[in-house]
């Protein structure tokens, strides 16, 4: 799992690459804590290179979503592949996110 965070003005871009499975979720959550704490702007989750996601990964997505909501920001999920879109569908996450 590889995570890169770029903040430009009001927009924070998070590039997620690899498998966000249960073991990867703990370090991923730690890495994303600054984003969660400062979620007042626009957070773009770039999922172009995200291969896999489990419920632990989904929880991080949901946590970011809730933080943005609380701080008046917004979350955009970009370029998810079909398999992950399927997972989003199965969990009702398609309705919770602005997926582009």
């Amino acid at each position: 799992m590889d995570i890169q965070i770029n903040k430009e003005g009001n927009v924070t871009t998070v590039v997620l690459a690899g498998r966000l499975d249960t073991p990867a979720s703990q370090p991923a959550a730690a890495a994303l804590e600054p984003v969660i704490n400062d979620a007042s702007g626009t957070i773009v989750l770039d999922c172009k290179a995200l291969e896999y996601i489990s419920s632990s990964g989904l929880r991080i997505f949901l946590t970011i979503r809730k933080a943005a909501m609380a701080q008046g920001g917004s979350v955009v999920v970009k370029d998810i592949n079909d398999d992950i879109r399927n997972v989003f569908m199965m969990t009702g996450f398609l309705n919770l996110f602005d997926i582009r």
Binding site: R19, D21, T22, P23, Q26, Y52, I53, S54, S55, S56, L58, R59, L62, T63, R65, K66, M69, D82, D83, N86, V87, M90, T91, G92, N95, L96
Partner: protein, 717 residues
């Protein structure tokens, strides 16, 4: 051949000529050197001797001259003349006698006057030479100085009166106060010492010295009988060989030099030098055999050694020549034989199947074989072919090596082909082969053979082992196939072979080999052995991959040590799928989060078996991960280590995962499902895992069994 013989001869000839030429040159140079050395020594010896003689001559001359003035005065008083001579003799040891002989008529009243003093025994005696019978005015010692007007050394003579001594007389003219020669003063000198001085010359053992007088009389010579009795000059005048005469002439004319003369059949070098004042000539005669004696011997020795060397050279060249003929013959023979063996190798390799994969259209069988002969031709064989959906295969090893073994290998393989053309039973196949080979086995050779028939449709395999090492069987583990050894082919014609059978399942494999594999030896004489072989084979590979891996491992092990035996292998992988059979995978994890990563590979393995696509595989991975995560997080109390077991089962068109643990009883299926329709602010963080399991799988069931939580999830395929 002839050319090299000629070249050899020429070589000897050139060597001989070169040797001879160099030794001749060396001989000549040495001869010249020795000759020069001899000349130097002879000349210096002559000089030394001459100096000794001249010493005495000078003593005598000086003594006489010193007395000349007194003698001149005595002319006035003739009676004092005897005293003068007496003084001269008394004072000089070399002077044996002395006289003053007055010119006849000079003294009035005394026509002849010559008082004489001479040594007699230990004292001096006196007499007069003025006697009629002696008549001194006619003597040479008197006439010559008068005639010459100067002093004069007489010819040597033997003094008959005084003990046969060799004598010479020195005469000195005495003038009166008017300058007229009035008398002759003489000193008789003994030449005893001369022989001694001259004989002292010892240049070479056989060399000798000779002294000639002015007239050619022999004064000194080793043959004493000749002394003063032979005039060489006169005697040699009539010789046929003129060299002696020429030599004496040269000597008498006061020359220095040397000349070869021949006498007693030998060549001698004569070195000569004049003795001034006396007119004598001194010579040293050296036989040439003395001068060059050593050289001659050395030359002979050198020549002999050279001859020996040349003889050896001839022998060596002859031996080399004969060897080279033999070597070439052997080489030609060897080359022909190697060519024939190469052709033999080609024929032999053409007899065994060697295009792999041999049955590319079949997907129920992966078979590959290899044969690496230790020599050009070998005695190992393998063969296989399919008839009536049966695979007939064999591997064998002929006793012995080389051409006999290769011929028997060809016979064995032909028999196998012809017998397997109509017989199905390995026992029958081996029995028929054994009978015909025992019949024609006159050389007591035999063949070990493992022969099998595999029903490709069912995996049923029958086999018969004729003394060969049993193959390895690959099921879920690797072990040696149980095989009755029986007897090798060709030993006992009516031997009753035992046939065995086994059912191969999908993915089972057989590895057949000859002992060349396990007995491959490295430089330390260690064998490759079964353990190394098993270790290599334990990795899953294609049939060809297994053979390549074993060959590589053996090569690495022997590390260039020469191959001592043929290395032959056959790998047979049975891949007929049976839909009715279940396939299972099993995985055990620790209850740690990082262990969950192992599930991805496990699911890939299962997906490959079940031939499902990657999207479904990912979903199944997700479902399994959620189920396992649940156990890892909650089944065991904090910190306790416990296993989580995962089994997969593909059966009758469905795939099941069974997750089990020994933790606290917990039924995940009992928890209510999450409401996925809620909006973000209302969504709970948990509960998603079991929801995904339920959504992805078709059936999820939980049971508590023997103290274990067992969760079974099934997906229809």
């Amino acid at each position: 051949m002839r050319q090299s013989a000629r070249a050899g001869l020429l070589l000897v000839l050139v060597a001989a000529l070169t040797l001879q030429a160099t030794s001749l040159l060396q001989f000549l140079l040495a001869r010249k050197g020795m000759r020069e050395e001899c000349s130097r020594r002879a000349e210096s010896e002559l000089e030394t001797t001459k100096a000794k003689i001249m010493d005495i001559i000078n003593v005598a001359e000086t003594a006489v001259r010193n007395s000349a003035w007194v003698a001149s005065l005595s002319l006035e008083m003739p009676d004092s003349m005897l005293a003068v001579t007496r003084r001269l003799v008394a004072d000089n040891d070399v002077i044996m006698g002395s006289t003053i002989a007055v010119v006849p008529g000079y003294l009035k009243g005394r026509p002849l006057f010559s008082p004489y003093t001479y040594r007699s025994a230990d004292s001096l005696a006196f007499s007069s030479l003025a006697t009629e019978e002696y008549n001194y005015p006619e003597k040479e010692w008197f006439t010559k100085p008068l005639e010459l007007g100067s002093d004069y050394w007489s010819e040597p003579y033997v003094d008959v009166g005084g003990g046969e001594l060799l004598m010479t007389t020195y005469s000195f003219p005495i003038k009166d106060r008017f300058g007229k020669t009035a008398a002759i003063l003489t000193a008789d000198i003994s030449l005893d010492w001369l022989t001694e001085v001259v004989d002292n010359i010892e240049l070479y053992p056989e060399a000798f010295s000779m002294m000639l007088s002015r007239e050619g009389e022999i004064m000194v010579c080793p043959a004493e009988s000749l002394v003063m009795r032979t005039n060489v000059y006169e005697a040699s005048a009539n010789f046929e060989d003129t060299t002696v005469h020429r030599l004496s002439k040269a000597m008498l004319s006061g020359q220095y030099g040397n000349m070869p003369i021949k006498f007693n059949g030998k060549v001698n070098q004569v070195f000569f030098a004049p003795v001034e004042r006396t007119g004598w000539s001194m010579s040293i005669v050296i036989p040439e055999s003395e001068i060059y004696g050593g050289l001659r011997r050395t030359a002979w020795l050198v020549s002999l050694l050279q001859l020996l060397g040349l003889a050896m050279l001839v022998l060596i060249i002859r031996a080399v020549f004969i060897n080279s003929i033999k070597y070439k013959e052997i080489n030609d023979k060897k080359e022909r034989m190697e060519n024939e063996l190469k052709i033999g190798h080609g024929i032999q390799m053409a007899m065994v199947p060697k295009i792999f994969p041999p049955f590319p259209e079949r997907n129920d069988l992966d078979i590959s074989a290899s044969l690496v002969s230790a020599k050009e031709v070998g005695g190992d064989l393998y063969d296989f072919h399919i008839r009536d959906e049966k695979l007939f295969f064999c591997i064998g090893d002929v006793s012995g090596k080389g051409i006999p073994a290769s011929l028997l290998m060809a016979v064995t393989r032909s028999l196998f082909r012809s017998v397997t053309g109509h017989e199905n039973s390995p026992r029958r196949i081996v029995t028929i082969m054994n009978e015909s080979m025992a019949d024609m086995n006159e050389n007591n050779m035999f063949v070990t053979l493992f022969c099998g028939t595999l029903e490709l449709a069912t995996g049923h395999m029958r086999y018969c082992n004729a003394g060969h090492n049993p193959p390895y069987l690959f099921t879920d583990k690797i072990h040696k196939l149980l095989a009755v050894p029986n007897l090798p082919l060709g030993i006992v014609g009516d031997f009753e072979y035992v046939e065995q059978e086994i059912d191969l399942e999908y993915d089972d494999a057989l590895f057949l080999y000859t002992d060349g594999v396990t007995e491959a030896e490295n430089a330390n004489k260690e064998l490759f052995g079964d353990d190394r072989l098993k270790a290599v084979l334990s990795t899953r590979r294609t049939a060809q991959g297994q053979l390549d891996a074993v060959n590589a491992a053996v090569s690495e092990f022997v590390a260039g040590a020469p191959q001592s035996d043929d290395i032959t292998m056959l790998f047979l992988h049975y891949l007929k799928e049976d839909r009715t059979k279940t396939k299972q995978h099993h995985l055990v994890l620790h209850n740690r989060i990082d262990e969950i990563s192992k599930l991805a590979d496990f699911v890939n393995l299962v997906a490959e078996d079940a031939k499902i696509d990657s999207s479904l595989a990912m979903s199944l991975n997700l479902a399994l991960e959620e189920a396992v995560t649940n156990v890892v997080m909650y089944a065991y109390t904090d910190g306790a280590d416990g296993p989580v077991e995962v089994d997969s089962l593909i059966s009758d068109g469905s795939l099941s995962f069974i997750v089990s643990d020994k933790g606290t009883a917990f039924d995940p299926t009992a928890s209510p499902d999450v409401d996925i329709t809620l909006d973000a602010s209302q969504r709970e963080i948990g509960g998603l895992g079991i929801h995904l399991v339920r959504t992805i799988m078709d059936e999820v069931s939980y049971k508590r069994e023997n103290g274990r939580n067992v969760l079974t999830m099934t997906k229809k395929l």
